[in-house]
């Protein structure tokens, strides 16, 4: 596959970026995330997560099912802050 392929569309991270980090010894999703911002954007890893895990599995010989993904945190999809604030205030009334 072309190494300039974009793996993370939120943060413009390429396959080459991922492979270089893996080669340097960063072989957990969490480390790669923190150094590249992969999985930190609006998709929260829903697009890129599996691709990165597959690269790690291929490079280390581990089974992809044994690799850990980042913690799943709220919210599930992006929500405007003022809407949360307005709802919260409604419930207080």
């Amino acid at each position: 596959m072309d190494e300039n392929t974009i793996i993370c569309r939120c943060s413009d991270v390429t396959l080459k970026d991922i492979r270089e980090l893996i080669a340097q010894g960063y072989v957990t999703y969490d480390e790669i995330k923190r150094l590249t911002r992969i999985g930190m954007g609006p998709c929260q890893g829903k697009t890129c997560g599996q691709l990165v895990l597959r690269e790690i599995a291929n490079a280390t010989g581990q089974n992809i099912a044994d690799l850990s993904f980042h913690n799943i945190r709220p919210p599930v999809v992006g929500v405007k802050l003022h809407l949360i604030a307005e709802e919260a205030e409604k419930h207080e009334e």
Binding site: D30, E31, R34, Q44, R73, G78, K80, L81, A85, A88
Partner: protein
Amino acid sequence: MKNKADIVIIGAGISGCSIAYNLAKRGAKNIVVLEKSFICSGSTGACGAGFRMQWGTEMNCRMSKFSTEFFENANDILEYDGDIELRQSGYLMIADTEKELAQFRKNIEVQHACGIPSRMVSLEEAKEIVPHLNTDILSGAAYCAKDGFLNPHKTTDAFYKAAKRLGVEFYTFTEVTGIKVENGRIAGVETNKGNIETRIVVNAANGWSQGLAKLVGVELPLYSERHQILVTEPVEPMQDPMVMAFNLNLYVQQTPHGSFIMGRSDAGEPRDLRRTSSWHFLEEMAKTIDKVLPAIGKLRVVRQWAGLYNMSPDRQPIYDKVEGVEGFYVACGFSGHGFMFGPVTGTVMAEMILGLEPTIDASRLRLSRFAEGNLFTEPSVV
């Protein structure tokens, strides 16, 4: 894993990595860093990514100035192949009460005595600096243009890589299960991956430090507490400085990447090691931002997370060796500002351990200050 080391550091956040680097740079050999998860997986990796010199105690002003001057040249000093993303775009401290404003004035006197270029700003000027700031609810502000943003993951990575090049060995996913003491001095460390003989242990585990100290029968006057942050979708640049308020209880800045990160303290958090996310934080944070900086309220939150503050009674760190357990050192209790003090932590601890003349006098941060009743509380902490 090697079974013998001169110095074992526990914790590979900014503190542990900076201590390791500073020790190795001064010629110490045979240093091992133990980390129970991955590098920067604890408090550093969950922090708010800001650094500031606007403090209320002389000690913190001096230490933050030292650290800021280091950060300004850190890419070169640490010969980093990446970029720590330093951006000195300022901190705007905002007050909504006369009492807090008076505290800012007092703080600025302390800051000026330390050569820190902070100043009071009018609400008009505050609005020029941050156009979407709701100044209607404010009474005044203080500003320092040299404060700013720094990527905690990259900065820790820079220290980690520099330490590794100097021969420091890092063992990740290696959890300390015991610390051996013989005749009142450190004799070794036990981990889930094997044992290491050593005569010096440095406890740099911040949120987990009081638990580690208990392994050698030492009670540190510290507790850990969850603090939460949220991040929005990235947008075009619209806010230069960090905006911070103690009474309104918030800090928020736009990262160089375009997202906003913001946090606040939740009253009544339990004193434990939980790092889960709470709905309560999300609601309170949303209400606060909508009130203080309404334009940011129009953005979507994409994630919230949590990290541990390791709170000391005066909200200042402890840098010391522990009486009664020869060879046991502590650098902990950072109370929410361990990341930005990273360079000073490494310098102070390395010089202490190697018996060198201190570059910065941190004796006021000794452990015994609590027993002596010699506290000096930092007034400016979120």
